[in-house]
Symmetry: C2
Subunit: 465 residues, 2 copies
């Protein structure tokens, strides 16, 4: 019956009307905007493992209880703390051929310079690939500073980020192995701002860098590039204080709307509570906290209780390596409830309009996701493919087999602000945020009121004809 597969899925007239009413209520609500304003104003920067992140958890518990969520709780976990060690500024300057201060910032996980700082010559690499290919002269980096000059490409999907991030994550390993005293990279991000983009490095097999590693703002990277093109030997001095500080506590904040008919079936929606230290984390990810919380609350206050439980998880320690997401998934492995997670999704890409719905569900469930997309279409959404993820904090659950959907936001200018001091509340447009909440509210309602198992189904014996 090939015909049956293309027949539109029927969400049900009542169900659709409730969804549409919820969407309209979301467009008329400024709850998400207010939540994000409150978090950024009353907590501000909240680096994973710091007292500020603990304040964010307390803030979240109070906020979720005020909004009448059920089962509000903190699930604590341990974390190795890394901090910059000295305000949010780093001291970096060109000393030769032309002295000039640079605007730069340590990457997450970096080591510090020796006390009193260091000065060394720069070895210039056009790209991370050029660094990888540069093993001809094994001693060329000994006692030097490595600079890697890749540029990021801006796009709606933000897909230039992963590529540009290779140098941020991995350049230090090669540099340190070959005796370099430190690593500098052109700031990841698409901005021509003097602020550089921070972010966590990678630690293969748990190894951590002893050397400092910093991002240099784009205009300052331009300066290094110009000096290199002039054929000049460039020397840089720097003094930084970054390092690992030992074990501390972090935690995830969890709240629920208990399902009416299938309370053990969980639609999990998330965002992360921590931010980088240089900004108030309005776009990353205060906006997500506002959007998913408001979507759940709008459903709770509609008078229509969904079949399934909606679980809001505000993850801790996302920025430093999905530590909260891993802790959550591991805890669900231990209590045996991974299989209760019917489907998951996260909002963690700013607050610009949602433009695409992607999914990662079993083939049999595609007509239903397509039907959900049709309900959201008037908000300006296209239907993406079925190879998506749910967002960074959904990765561990997705590895464990939990199906995912994602409402993708326009990321064209996300990396103008992301992980820099400019990620502040004024960058959020209330109308765009309300469109997000509308899409989320409708989608979450329809998923939480569904009876479908979205996991890929084992092939069944063909029905007899």
């Amino acid at each position: 019956l090939a015909h049956a597969q293309t027949e539109p899925f029927d969400l049900g007239q009542d169900n659709r009307e409730i969804a549409q009413a919820l969407g309209q209520a979301a467009l008329d609500s400024d709850l998400a905007y207010e939540i994000t304003e409150s978090l950024t104003t009353e907590v501000g920067p909240r680096l994973a493992g710091t007292p500020q992140e603990a304040r964010a958890r307390d803030w979240a518990v109070e906020m979720l209880e005020e909004l009448a969520f059920e089962n509000v709780r903190i699930e604590p976990f341990e974390l190795d703390l890394w901090t910059r060690g000295h305000s949010v500024y780093e001291e970096v300057a060109i000393t030769a051929p032309y002295p000039q201060e640079l605007y730069a910032i340590s990457l997450g996980g970096a080591g510090a310079t020796p006390e009193g700082g260091l000065e060394a010559e720069v070895v210039f690499f056009d790209s991370y690939d050029a660094l990888l290919a540069s093993d001809a002269d094994e001693d060329a980096l000994e006692g030097k500073l490595v600079f890697v000059n890749d540029r990021m490409v801006a796009s709606r999907t933000g897909e230039g980020y992963g590529w540009a991030n290779r140098k941020r994550r991995d350049a230090w390993v090669l540099a340190e192995d070959r005796g370099a005293l430190g690593v500098l990279i052109r700031s990841v991000g698409t901005s021509t701002n003097r602020f550089a983009h921070t972010g966590m490095m990678s630690f293969p097999d748990g190894r951590r860098p002893d050397i400092p590693a910093l991002a240099v703002s784009a205009p300052d990277a331009d300066q290094l590039e110009r000096l290199h093109e002039m054929g000049e030997t460039v020397s840089i001095t720097m003094r930084t204080y970054a390092g690992w500080r030992g074990e501390v506590m972090s935690g995830n904040v969890i709240a629920e709307i208990t399902g009416s008919e299938a309370p053990d079936e969980i639609v999990i929606i998330g965002a992360h509570l921590d931010s980088w230290d240089t900004a108030t984390g309005a776009l990353d990810d205060g906006a997500g906290v506002g959007i998913v919380t408001a979507a759940a609350r709008l459903i709770a206050e509609s008078g229509h209780r969904p079949r399934r439980t909606i679980r809001v998880v505000l993850f801790g320690a996302e920025e430093v390596g999905l530590v909260g997401a891993r802790a959550y998934a591991n805890a669900r492995m231990e209590d045996g409830t991974v299989g209760d997670h019917i489907i998951g999704s996260e909002s963690d890409f700013g607050a610009r309009e949602v433009w695409r719905l992607r999914s990662n569900v079993g083939e049999h469930a595609l007509p239903e996701i397509d039907a959900i997309h049709r309900e959201l279409q008037s908000l300006g959404l296209v239907r993406g493919d079925n190879s998506g993820g749910g967002g960074p904090d959904m990765i561990p659950l997705q590895y464990m087999g939990v199906p995912m959907v994602r409402l993708e936001q326009n990321g064209e200018d996300y990396f103008e602000f992301h992980h820099t001091p400019n990620d502040t509340f004024d960058k959020i447009v209330p109308e765009e945020m309300a469109q997000n909440v509308a899409a989320w509210t409708m989608m979450v309602w329809l998923l939480a009121n569904s009876e479908t198992d979205f996991r890929p189904q084992a092939p069944q014996a063909e029905a007899s004809e």
Copy 2:
């Protein structure tokens, strides 16, 4: 003969053809762009009175001699040095009700906090006018920090700047007189960037502040505004090191193309060599240095020597109160050559396209300025009125009676970058800069080849009919 006044002025066919050829050569040249690149790359930030400004003078002399200018010389003058005293960063943070670091920067001329810093409550004023009107309770500012929250309006003419600048220039006097421990202002400038806009304060009767005075970035000013609107009492801690450091030397750099027929008649074109300490001063005013130098050089290399002398003056110490411009004008008073200055103009408003020609000349000369405008019209220029100035460094000469013209640039986004760390070379668009140079080259040629005295003429007895 009323008719004669509206008859178009005839610039002469040859003269016009030379002007048009010069304009085309300018559009094809990247000399201005290269000069600005060299200044920002090889000198960088160059605060008035510092060794960096001295390096800029040496750079300028070498550059002007390489370009075969005549009479290249430095005219030194004395200057009281003010510096920030501690890198380009200031330590400012909200301590209550919600601790959060602020991005702020001392205003030029400000005092420092006591050693070890200070902490005080904030008294919030919506505007500078509100501060002015607030004398009801004389003791309300005693021991407090004054915050003034005016916003600047962006516009093509940049005319919102003067209005927004009142708080920067003058708020400290009232605050200090009433016992305040310091002044904070919302950053002048139109940007939502986390960098705050610096700039010089006013010193009525030579009085200088003992208290610190800082600009707070717009997103941080938003934070103070939100806390104020919540009814919270806000406390701020700060530690700054700014102050006056005593007498040092600065200087103007002068170069000429000697006129063929009237070498003592001077068309003076200027820009300023100094910049603020936080940026490389590409737009303010490296671009002006490039534009006026390139315009003069394009004339010099054309093979057509103008009647009059073209004098390029790269002023020192503009940012700190037109110190170089005053020194230049006073020196011309002393050597009796103010009257030789036929007309003046400066480029000091970035590098966006020129869109308007304004003037300040005698009525009799308007038809000629109108004719010059017609030659430039194809570059996209409108003709402004006759009440303009020549640019900041032309003010002292204009007071002394020197006529002025000005090629006004589009300033819509100038104050996104101006006086912040973001004023860097990458913000200049080569094609827009070349359009500037074309307009300048044509205008300067036509003025330098004119025989007209542009000063207002004493009324003459009517000719007998």
